[in-house]
């Protein structure tokens, strides 16, 4: 029955109005396009609102401290009410760097194993398990860190490490269990799913002709793999930076294992330190006066920009790598 498909009058009227505004009828196709575009542009709105709210919330602190906030090394909510975040920025970047140092080689091996070596079914099981790691809530990592990882590292690893490398200041000093190195290790475990999944994808994107060419030249499997890594290197850098973004923003687990000591530089890798996200998690709920809350929001703002810079870098690198791959595939 064709007549029953005819839209009711109010839809027709709406259609006419839309037509007047957009010069196009409200067909299903066009309506869907409009809907999708609206939701997509909401992202800009959300991002803009976030920055606006962060800046608005940190007004008090921005006006009081200005640039001093970024280079200040004192965090005293009780007496002088002075806030400076340089130690937090350093703590965030250093723990993230340790995480990369430990996590990236492991992740690249996982990526290589999955794309080059593993039989299909085995590879599927491994990538399933690795992605499962990404789904574990970070508070669980934190508790596991406190009750399992810290005692293990303290009793079995750190003492030996100090015994061998103790002459280097980085490995001297008292061992508490929690601290900079432990924080880095927890973060490393947490970035492995991201980095290994992305690197597996970029390795798989390497055209087979590359591998065939290497093998036909008499290269071993390892030499072929090396070639795959070097071919996909910009993609690998993208993966690493995505992992770095994750490590920088990580909050709960690092708060629970880093020891939360506000100091410019720790005396060793075993000493405690602090990160930006950790101080927000620790102090926001009980921040009792305006300037204090405002300073914590400004920490959020600084963290936001650090994360933003890292993500922009990641995007740029990934784009470059994709162009490279497409360009070569076209030739």
């Amino acid at each position: 029955m064709k007549s029953s498909r005819k839209p009711p009058v109010f839809i027709h009227n709406l259609n006419v109005k839309v037509h007047k505004i957009f010069k196009k009828p409200l067909t299903g196709d066009y309506a869907f396009k409009l809907l999708a575009a609206t939701f997509a542009s909401i992202i800009f709105l959300i991002l803009g609102l976030m920055i606006y709210e962060l800046i608005k919330g940190s007004q008090l602190s921005l006006q009081r401290f200005g640039i001093e906030f970024l280079i200040g090394t004192k965090w005293d909510p009780a007496i002088s009410q002075v806030f400076g975040v340089l130690p937090l920025i350093l703590g965030t970047l250093v723990t993230s760097a340790i995480a990369l140092l430990i996590g990236v080689p492991i992740s690249l091996c996982i990526g290589l194993a999955l794309s080059e070596y593993a039989p299909k079914r085995f590879g599927f099981a491994i990538s399933f398990l690795v992605e499962l790691l990404a789904a574990v809530p970070s508070v669980i990592y934190g508790l596991w860190g406190i009750f399992t990882l810290i005692p293990f590292l303290r009793n079995n690893v750190y003492a030996y490490l100090q015994g061998i490398l103790g002459f280097i200041p980085l490995f001297s000093g008292p061992i508490y269990g929690g601290g900079v190195l432990t924080g880095g290790i927890i973060l490393a475990i947490m970035i492995i799913p991201t980095v290994s999944a992305v690197s597996r994808d970029v390795f798989s994107a390497v055209p087979n002709t590359q591998r065939e060419a290497m093998i036909s030249l008499g290269a071993t499997k390892w030499e072929t793999a090396k070639n795959v890594i070097s071919y996909a290197r910009s993609g690998v850098i993208g993966a690493i930076i995505l992992g770095l973004g994750r490590a920088v923003g990580e909050t709960m687990a690092i708060t629970m294992v880093i020891g939360n000591k506000f100091q410019l530089l720790p005396s060793s890798l075993f000493d405690a330190w602090y990160t930006m996200s950790a101080i927000i998690a620790n102090e926001f709920t009980e921040a009792t006066y305006g300037l204090y809350v405002s300073a914590l929001i400004e920490v959020g703002l600084v963290l936001f920009f650090v994360a933003l810079i890292i993500n922009v870098l990641a995007r740029l690198v990934v784009w470059r790598s994709l162009k490279l791959v497409r360009g070569i595939a076209r030739e």
């Binding site: 909510p77 921040a287 009792t288």
Partner: protein
């Protein structure tokens, strides 16, 4: 339009509406009392909520433990019927939320806890020694001052590892309040707050974080909420009071401290910014049996309830009855949860405060 789609939609709408309508009409209308604030009294308030619901099935108390800071904020913004806080409102906060009544609901204590191999509970501390340990001035367990206090034990020649809370908390507020009262140096360099600029030591998140650090690090010392220490069988020290006794933290010694402080409490509608059990007994040489690091946890309620946007007379009356119940019958549930029941002096004080609460000028509690 296509009837195949319309008819099921209308049918579902009717069914859903009628289910909600049935639920709404079949039950006597419940009154929900919304509250928010401190995490310390949460287990007790949670118990009260459940028990009160048994007595008054049509009353539902909804308490969110978001922290004292959040509780004060929501109370000031008038988005909850009652707030809860471990610290009284400061002068500024009181000015922002005028006509706030403070109603002490329960009492907590903070205990020094340590991990020295071979040492059981009962190591003796004075306030000065605790302050110097947390300032980083006493760094060894066999410091002469500690040895002099504890001649019967042999203290090891080991560095002290100091552990404190890293998150903002009422526990830290109470502990630093005590150290500020005792030590001039602490007062001027560190101060009292929910978080402070610690001169030394590791920070653990929450009572469990502090306990974790202490249990994993021999020769460490920290401070935790008494309930947590008790439930986890932690090793705690005794603290000297102004009467010169070394008092073991216990429900009795907290309650004794609170009853000595009760005589100093201001009227319920005055500013309580200076109220602190610690301040009022720390130099009171008569306060025998009182454990010095003790504090109240408060309900924050407006004196005139019509200032709350969605308050009505029924809800106001229900709220007041609930508050009255918590300071009387509610206190009976304290001991099983290891909370300190309010001493009689404080209950009497609270009764006068609750009688002040009005709705549109009408006194609500008539008892």
């Amino acid at each position: 339009m296509n009837y195949k789609i319309v008819i099921p939609i209308v049918a579902i709408a009717i069914i859903v509406t009628s289910v909600f309508a049935y639920q709404y009409l079949s039950k006597p209308q419940t009154i929900t009392l919304n509250g928010a604030g401190a995490t310390f009294p949460f287990p007790l308030i949670d118990k009260w909520t459940a028990e009160y619901h048994k007595i008054k099935p049509d009353v539902q108390v909804n308490y969110q433990s978001i922290g004292s800071g959040g509780g004060i904020k929501q109370h000031t913004e008038k988005t909850v019927y009652f707030g809860a806080s471990d610290a009284p409102l400061t002068e500024q906060q009181f000015a922002d939320a005028p006509n706030t009544l403070h109603i002490p609901m329960t009492i907590g204590g903070v205990v020094p806890t340590y991990n020295v191999p071979g040492m059981s509970k009962g190591l003796k501390f004075t306030g000065e020694i605790l302050a110097d340990i947390f300032l980083g001035k006493i760094t060894k367990w066999n410091d002469p001052r500690l040895m002099a206090l504890n001649p019967e034990t042999s203290l090891p020649n080991h560095d002290i590892i100091v552990v404190h809370r890293s998150d903002g908390s009422g526990t830290t507020f109470v502990f630093t309040n005590y150290l500020s009262d005792i030590s001039q140096e602490w007062k001027t360099t560190v101060g009292k707050s929910t978080s402070v600029n610690w001169p030394t030591g590791l920070g653990g998140k929450g009572n469990e974080g502090v306990t974790g650090l202490i249990s994993q690090n021999p020769y460490s010392i920290g401070y935790v909420e008494f309930i947590y220490a008790k439930k986890n069988n932690l090793t705690w020290g005794y603290v000297q009071n102004a009467a010169g006794e070394f008092v073991e933290p216990s429900l009795e010694s907290f309650s004794t401290a609170a009853s000595f402080a009760a005589v100093t409490l201001p009227r319920g509608d005055e500013s309580w910014s200076r109220v602190s059990i610690i301040d009022s007994i720390v130099n009171n040489t008569q306060a025998t049996g009182a454990y010095p690091i003790t504090s109240f946890s408060y309900f924050l309620v407006y004196k005139e309830l019509n200032v709350l946007p969605n308050m009505n007379e029924d809800a106001a009356k229900t709220l007041v009855e609930f508050l009255w119940w918590t300071i009387h019958d509610g206190q009976n549930f304290s001991a099983e949860l290891v909370y300190v029941p309010l001493p009689a002096e404080v209950v009497t004080h609270n009764e006068a405060t609750i009688r002040m609460i009005t709705f549109n000028g009408q006194q609500l509690y008539k008892g």
